[in-house]
């Protein structure tokens, strides 16, 4: 830290030549650093220079708004003589770029250049100007790829922080949407933006977010996942305690619920905190579709989550320990299938589950062109042939397939991944202790869930601790019509916990049918 401070105080020299030399050498003579020294007729005897890093600036803006005005400089006499005021005048009446800043040290100059700004220096002045000419190639705003909806906005975040913030600004058009940018990473100097809606957010949680962000000490942040692992409450848990999304509407909704959003430059994935378990079961579409459809789908989602976590374990438990639970005909058909199978249920299930996980990962990593191959290998070779060869039973293939499909219902990938991992624990316990094993491990999981917190908010709220009295259940397992959801969902002290004044349907003109 001290060393950094010392470096940061290397002042700019009054000599333009020296500054240019210093910049070149500090950048290691990098060939993409452009320093252009030139003279302007209007300021004889004083050379000007602009410096920037090629590729991360917008060349068009530099030419039009910086170079052109500087070249055709016509300044009043007194400015040219009193050198110190030259830069001030440049800023005041020449360079036509929105955001400009005075800097006095070499390291600031270097940092701004690395950030994609253009530095303007003049001979004889120990200061410089920066002009915001940020630009360069970036992906244009496109359709959200990982969290798709049928009804609702389709666009997703891109890699540029500036664009991403603007996407949210376009949804919440209010001055109470506040944006604070922090730099994190000693080498990458990544911009990390904290967004919140002033007046809704809990100040305590906001402070905690700042505190945790400030405590991050690492050389580089390449993705919001880095930030997530640094600021989450509990490291040793399988359950994610921060939501992430690539959808601006999801972030906007979270902000309106009193959450804090964290957007990291260079990634389309934004983080939201605090988060509760139940928010992972909410797709943005739940709120755009009619409430009855949304409720149905949400219930399906909870069921699917339990299925994807427990089904193989239940199958193992039933076939190994509690055969009497099945209706007799089903039991006979299952027993007939399993007749020639050489493995116990647990081994069979582990084999198939591992196979599926491998297939799934392969499907994700392999080049797109050979994608169809995976379905052939997966469906025919591993599924059908394995059954025909008598290595696994058909029932097990059905169970594993349905488990796998159920897992894809989850709108949040990281929560879905949790159930994939926990599934194996349940399977092992079921293989050893049947239903009792499932019960004990389920209880263990519940206790763990009940002890988790996300930025101080209990993870299982509003179910435990309960918020029934405040009407927080209206958007948990079911989704009530919008007009009935009065309270914001989080269990925390918010300045403004109500979204609506009361639970009243807006009056509609009722037609009696008579003319």
């Amino acid at each position: 830290m001290n060393k950094q401070n010392a470096e940061a105080h290397t002042p700019l020299s009054p000599s333009l030549q020296a500054n240019v030399q210093a910049i070149r050498s500090r950048f290691g003579e990098s060939s993409d650093v452009v320093i252009r020294v030139f003279r302007s007729d209007a300021a004889p005897g004083r050379r000007l220079a602009i410096a920037y890093v090629d590729g991360i600036v917008d060349a068009e803006t530099i030419n039009r708004s910086v170079m052109e005005p500087l070249m055709s400089l016509q300044l009043p006499e007194y400015v040219i003589e009193k050198g110190a005021r030259l830069l001030e005048a440049l800023r005041g009446c020449v360079v036509s770029v929105g955001s400009m800043r005075d800097i006095h040290t070499l390291d600031e100059a270097l940092q701004y250049m690395a950030d994609g700004l253009c530095v303007i220096m003049a001979d004889g002045s120990a200061a410089a100007l920066t002009a915001d000419v940020n630009g360069g190639e970036e992906r244009s705003v496109g359709i959200a790829q990982t969290q798709t909806v049928i009804r609702g906005p389709q666009y997703g975040f891109v890699e540029s922080l500036r664009t991403n913030i603007s996407l949210i600004r376009r949804v919440i058009r209010s001055s109470s949407l506040h944006v604070q940018i922090h730099k994190v990473g000693k080498q990458t100097h990544t911009n990390v933006a904290v967004l919140y809606v002033h007046g809704i957010v809990d100040e305590g949680i906001l402070k905690e977010v700042y505190r945790r962000l400030a405590a991050i000490d690492i050389d580089g942040i390449l993705e919001s996942g880095y930030i997530e692992e640094f600021i989450q409450d509990e490291t040793f848990t399988l359950f994610p305690t921060l939501l992430n999304t690539e959808r601006p509407d999801t972030v906007a909704a979270a902000l309106l619920e009193g959450r804090v959003a964290i957007i990291v430059d260079g990634t389309p994935i934004a983080l939201m905190a605090p988060t509760t378990f139940f928010s992972f079961f909410q797709s943005p579409e739940d709120f755009y579709q009619r409430y009855d459809i949304a409720t149905f789908i949400r219930v399906i989602r909870y069921v699917a989550y339990v299925v994807s976590m427990l089904l193989p374990a239940l199958y193992i438990a039933v076939t190994t320990y509690h055969q009497e639970m099945l209706p007799t005909t089903l039991l006979i058909s299952l027993a007939a299938q399993r007749e020639g199978i050489p493995f116990p249920g647990l081994v069979e299930a582990l084999l198939m589950e591992m196979t599926f996980e491998v297939l799934r990962e392969a499907g994700l990593r392999m080049p797109r062109a050979i994608g169809p191959a995976i379905s052939i290998v997966g469906a025919l070779v591993l599924g059908q042939s394995a059954v025909q060869a008598g290595i696994v039973s058909a029932g097990m293939v059905i169970v594993v397939s349905f488990t796998a499909i159920s897992n894809f219902v989850m709108p949040e990938f990281n929560m879905a991944a949790t159930s994939r991992i926990i599934r194996f624990g349940f399977m092992l316990m079921a293989g050893m202790l049947g239903f009792f094993g499932i019960f004990v491990s389920g209880l263990f999981m519940l206790i763990h869930l009940a002890s988790l917190r996300s930025f101080g908010v209990p993870y299982m709220s509003p179910l435990a601790p309960g918020g029934a009295a405040q009407g927080l259940f209206r958007d948990m397992f079911i989704r009530m019509p919008w007009w009935a959801i009065v309270m914001r969902p989080l269990d925390m002290k918010m300045r403004n916990p109500k979204r609506r004044p009361n639970k009243k349907k807006p009056p509609a003109q009722r037609h009696s049918g008579k003319p």
């Binding site: 509690h322 209706p327 009792f436 004990v440 519940l446 206790i447 179910l463």
Partner: protein, 363 residues
Amino acid sequence: MQRIGKNQLSILIILFLIGSTPLFELGIEAKQDAWIAMTLAAAAGLLLTAMYLRIQRRAPEAGLAELYMMHFGKWLGGAVGLIHMLWFAYESMRNVRDVGELTMIALLPLTPKWIVMLLILAVAAYTVSKGLEVFVRVIQLLMPVAVLSYMVIVLLLLVARLPDISQLKPVLENGLAPVLKAAFPDLLSFPFGQMVIMLVFWKHVAEKNTIGRASYWSQAGVSLFLILMNMLTLCVLGPEVSSLSALPLLEAVQLIRLANFLERLDVIVTLLLFIGLYVKMTALYMASALTLSAVTGIAYRNWVMPIGAAIYASSFLEPNNTYHIWIGLDITLKIVPLFQIVLPVLMLAVGLRKKYKAARPAA
């Protein structure tokens, strides 16, 4: 200090009192009048709760150990607190053993009991180490499961037309005497008198003025529920079979046969019993640790493991299930009134003579 809300208190009381109660057909000594015995005991149970609340109100921020020390002096009170703490641990042990026996009867006949009991106790110890707040949250999560399962059971029993109300007749065949004998002190001691444990937990409730109302209503509600379940089992099985069966509710549910599909619902019952036993075991274990910590002044978390180890070790002392049930229903129930009635009454009496300042700080 950890704080819980009034709804959480209610749910704690409800699931705690349900606990392992449906395991047994209580008051079956009164034959078809078991439910009357239950009703009488439940009413008396509310009176006991009124007494506990009265004591607790003298020092709302004091737990059981602090109350003993306030009333009986530091040394005597501490000693009584220690004995009561041992009693909590003992009762917790009984539930651990119940889980072991139940698993053997209903689920895993060949699995050694030590591993079953070790696992359930590990879960309880994990909960206790996380503290009361997490415990009540877990109960809140279990509550919907319990409610749904009971609803399914009752509904299916009714749909299958198994209950036969005439099983309850004739009412009071042999007069009130056998009913009273069944109700007192046995039924009062288990489950209703176990409310004495709330003296440990009440001090953690944030809104002190709501304790009374929440406790009465939830206890009254759960008493009603237990009486109804008792009646239902009686109606399905009849007094003779009920008195012979090891797990009457399980037996009753096994009779359900619907649509050639819903046949084996034992699992739901077993799950329910496990939930109840877990809640009871953990509450008692936690009460034990809290009381010991209050008496000795040594931090709560240091007691979690030693008490757990003691509970685990002592759960092997009884040689078999028959012995376990005999001790539980005959010996234990004779000692319990000491903790549920004698000691609180003594406290109440001592307290009447002492003048208490409105809010005396804890010990």
